[in-house]
Symmetry: C2
Subunit: 337 residues, 2 copies
DNA sequence: CTGAAAGCGCTTACAG
DNA sequence: CTGAAAGCGCTTACAG
């Protein structure tokens, strides 16, 4: 039952004024070396640490940033968060976590709350529903309140804020091209995130890579039951030889489908997904995937925000950082064979 | 570029004192209805919200709780966090997230930091390394500082704090018994978390359920390469007919092993795992699993802490809540056939 | 080199 | 019913 000691109490014990103690602890040149030592010694003895709330009130900063995560059960976002936390830790900032659960309404609530002054800056990945509705007014309200915002992963390109994402289009373009070079003629794509920027971009990359002679084979839906029909159409009717999956769910659906219909991977069907290294290598067969480096995205986002907060970043000029992906070739394609 | 309006500014505009404004906004009975209305109207007009930092300083509370997560990339913990966040939201508390990455040193750092007064209470799941070392002094230091602690999932039973977990032992005991009743003779267990309380408890449950005539078949290791040898021993040499997996990794390892060695699931080998509903049903074949309800654990943990903070909880008497698990029977056992 | 005073934005006992 | 004053725990310009 230690009682936290305050500056005032320290000053009494030392028979000096509160101001002297405060300055001494902050190594002010105004204070004699002797006093500084005396003060610091006693402070250490009592394990004094300034009350962060009081410090914040003076500085009119909260020392805290808010992170809005659309869906924390998605390992990608969990890892981004861990990158953010690690980097925040490095620069001495606290992280408050808010989960929008992909809901527009919840996202609005959170933003509304944040504008009351809980945080100095916000890291945001836009909820699915907000993207579908194209409702972004609440995000602009953060900007109105002069709260720096960094968008991560799900980026709205028009907003006057810093952004960090992945080269979605390019990575799907590359991998499609690779399949074509390997002689694959009918390449399909499956997606459950067609309304997200990231999904759209990935689809765009795929389309751009297809040769004029090739047809698009796209199975895309957010509805589970309907998606299976689409998959049937693409895998069975249109007989694709390879399929790109834009996300976790579509990958698992395709695997299931192949399993249930005795489609052999990779002999009958090659699969490439956007997944994380903690699942893809363990699937049966192991999945070839595009690695996104979520930790790096998190760290990068935090770095961008920190530069804003410290004033290092140029005003009215916003950075757009891209974290490069990498194709990991495993059993579901087996290119190297 | 809105400037946040303060009480003082409001009071000037209204030609009343700061105290009157404050009281009016808080519906003090000291203030006349007329004034209250006048004040509230202007406050609403200017979208006034009290500076949370200032309020905290007065109340000497931070309105914030700290959550320490051992590994956020583990969906279980991610979902626990989402339950915590949802419940905190409900009672108007902020959540600061810290990730220990299973490291003792990091956990000590975090706790040290938290004792400076950033939070009113702490939700903690103990890092793997701390458990292995049995080093818990840092946790007791939170208690010394009068910061209420609630342990979740990974529980140290001796500590004088509230706890919430899962009926680990019982659930493995039950499922083992069920296998025995179905006529399975040789039942094995695979684990990569034998040094965690949760792992130990699950193993205990398994052992307790085995009949005197039955042998234990345990493959347990944290080392990947070595684990495969153990799995070989149990699956091939000792020819178990069913295997319980205590965690995500061991489940995936066993699936991989079966896949690589043409062991058919469930015909040759039945598998039951501790996993989440976002993966187990999509595996090929789908995995029978013990559902832990992580959201509920998170909410429960937050509720316990909230009761401490509000003083509803009895002093020196600590609750130990258990969230019940449920066996979900899918293709990897196919009991119902 | 040290200290008294003001102030960050609130709340609340007390006086009128 | 309203307001002046003190105070939460700090920091910092200013005086001495």
């Amino acid at each position: 039952m230690k009682n936290k000691i305050t500056l005032k109490e320290l000053s009494k014990l030392l028979n000096v004024s509160v101001s002297t103690v405060s300055k001494a602890l902050n190594d002010s040149p105004e204070i004699s070396q002797k006093t500084i030592e005396r003060v610091k010694e006693l402070a250490a003895l009592h394990n004094y640490r300034p009350n962060p709330v009081a410090v914040n009130l003076k500085s009119s900063r909260s020392g805290t940033i808010g992170v809005i995560v659309p869906n924390i059960a998605n390992t990608f976002f969990a890892k981004v968060l861990s990158g953010i936390e690690a980097q925040a830790q490095e620069v001495g900032l606290q992280v408050m976590t808010y989960i929008s659960d992909e809901s527009y309404e919840r996202e609005v609530q959170i933003v509304e709350h944040l504008t009351a002054g809980f945080v100095d800056g916000v890291l945001l990945s836009i909820a699915e529903e907000s993207q579908r509705k194209r409702s972004f007014d609440h995000i602009y309200s953060l900007i109105d309140y002069d709260i720096p915002v960094v968008l991560y992963d799900r980026i709205n390109y028009d907003m006057p804020v810093d952004k960090i994402g992945v080269n979605d289009a390019e990575s799907f373009k590359k991998v499609t091209t690779k399949l074509i070079k390997k002689g694959v003629k009918r390449i399909g794509l499956v997606s459950t995130i067609l309304h997200l920027v990231t999904g759209k971009e990935r689809i765009r990359g795929y389309k751009e890579a297809l040769l004029p002679s090739m047809e698009e084979h796209i199975a895309a839906s957010t509805r589970r039951d309907y998606l299976d029909d689409c998959i049937y159409q693409v895998l069975i009717k249109e007989e694709v030889e390879a399929v790109l999956c834009t996300d976790f769910e579509s990958t698992l659906r395709v695997y299931r489908y192949a399993y249930e219909h005795n489609i052999r991977i990779p002999q009958d069907l090659k699969i490439i997904g956007f997944l994380n290294d903690d699942i893809a290598p363990y699937m049966t067969p192991s999945l070839s995937y595009i690695e996104q480096n979520p930790q790096k995205i998190g760290k990068g986002a935090m770095k961008l925000l920190h530069k804003r907060l410290t004033g290092e970043a140029e005003l009215n000029k916003y950075r757009e950082k891209i974290v490069k992906t990498k194709l990991i070739d495993l059993e579901s394609t087996n290119f190297e064979l």
